[in-house]
Symmetry: C2
Subunit: 252 residues, 2 copies
Amino acid sequence: MKVIAVTNQKGGVGKTTSTVNMAASLGVLGHKVLMIDMDPQGNATTGLGINKADLQSCIYTVLVDEIPIEEAVIQTPFQNLWVVPATINLSGVDLELASVIGRESRLKQAIEDMQQEFDYVLIDCPPSLGLLTLNALTVSNSIIVPIQAEYYALEGLTQLLNTIRLAQRHLNKELVIEGIVLTMVNKTNLSAEVEQEVRNIFDKKVYKTTISRGVRLSEAPSYGKPIYYYDQRSRGAQEYLELAKEVMKHGN
Amino acid sequence: MKVIAVTNQKGGVGKTTSTVNMAASLGVLGHKVLMIDMDPQGNATTGLGINKADLQSCIYTVLVDEIPIEEAVIQTPFQNLWVVPATINLSGVDLELASVIGRESRLKQAIEDMQQEFDYVLIDCPPSLGLLTLNALTVSNSIIVPIQAEYYALEGLTQLLNTIRLAQRHLNKELVIEGIVLTMVNKTNLSAEVEQEVRNIFDKKVYKTTISRGVRLSEAPSYGKPIYYYDQRSRGAQEYLELAKEVMKHGN
Ligand SMILES: Nc1ncnc2c1ncn2[C@@H]1O[C@H](COP(=O)(O)OP(=O)(O)OP(=O)(O)O)[C@@H](O)[C@H]1O
Ligand SMILES: Nc1ncnc2c1ncn2[C@@H]1O[C@H](COP(=O)(O)OP(=O)(O)OP(=O)(O)O)[C@@H](O)[C@H]1O
Ligand SMILES: [Mg+2]
Ligand SMILES: [Mg+2]
């Protein structure tokens, strides 16, 4: 089982879109996948068509009440894809666990005790480096970093790399960068310049597959479906399928 | 003096772009403006061309070491515009002030003690509802909320309104919504649907001026200039100038 956190504290770079669509694509390619939504906004939960009002339990009850994670896992209508959803009460976790010993390891504890077996566990992180992201970094084997092909997106990278180094030292020695994916790529000079700079800095860690900016990708969540199930022939569906294949290949 | 926080915990919706360009536009229209960067990524600082490596002090030293804010204020080369910059050490504030009494009021204290007079103070917030955003909400008269014309952007609104209500009750009874601005608007059906929904929910609070998606706006930060100074004839420059005029008018 491979546990991967999808993270970048810069906002709006395509973390949720990449988690939902990589998870769905790995499922289509025959792997059993669990997606965990660790963002209080719950965009990944909505992106899979789950109605938050119907939920009995969610990641919050796993982290704070320590219920077994199986009780929060839901099967989705999509091939080989299960999810642990998030609701708005997740935003209270930083405060509620503030003085609890081992608070960064709550998710790790839950996943280690999990009976069900998956090939991949993908974790969608919020745009901050607080307790929720630290929980994800503590339990993950590796991280995938979406980087938007925009100028501001380059700025946050040093901060992110600092955090990863701290997590490796204090929380999880095994943590490595699985890969970096360029998102919302378009035909402008700015986009090409940012892509060039990212490839210069991170070299082989950057996936060959890039994700183009496309309206079908931003429409799919309003239908509660990953892009593959919303419009299989779209460029976004093909690119995320290619990216999933690269993630599988890199992973040996 | 009017203090306005620009905030939305959804990432990448145009908080920084709106803060930088509204501040610059209000300056062009003759108002004396101070912009405060409360995001550890320091995008607003870079967006005004300030080199973080040269800084003696920044918002971090104001909040944690309690130096007078005047010592951190820098004049920019742009008309009537001053800035308190942010550096990466700002990401440590949540932890460093965790057990300090009145930690939400550090910025308020600093601004109340400020000798220099400004017409507007605009505060750029990070994409989370932690201590930095709470400091901004505690000192602000009102907030401006950028909303991206995208499906996921609607989801976070309930969480944001909850937070504002909590801030009004516990930290700042005077806090009101100054206005809501639709950003990255384009010609798709999705964009039109989101705009319609936001106007249905928030009615008169939504500015008539919307900001179109345009490559000149995303290029300007790489030159360290607000859009008005990078390409005055661009659509983005005109729209932010119109928006500034609406902010001035609303605010009598
Ligand atoms: N390749 C793409 N083409 C077009 N739109 C995209 C693409 N990827 C993401 N989007 C849209 O851009 C917005 C930001 O993406 P997303 O919400 O996935 O980013 P995020 O990093 O998860 O944001 P946050 O920091 O708030 O968690 C969303 O509205 C999404 O639908
Ligand atoms: N109207 C626009 N047209 C085109 N690009 C835009 C527009 N507004 C913002 N952008 C670009 O979109 C990206 C996100 O905008 P910005 O960084 O201002 O959002 P933010 O809400 O401040 O993000 P964060 O949540 O990380 O603080 C940036 O790369 C910016 O240059
Ligand atoms: Mg997200
Ligand atoms: Mg910003």
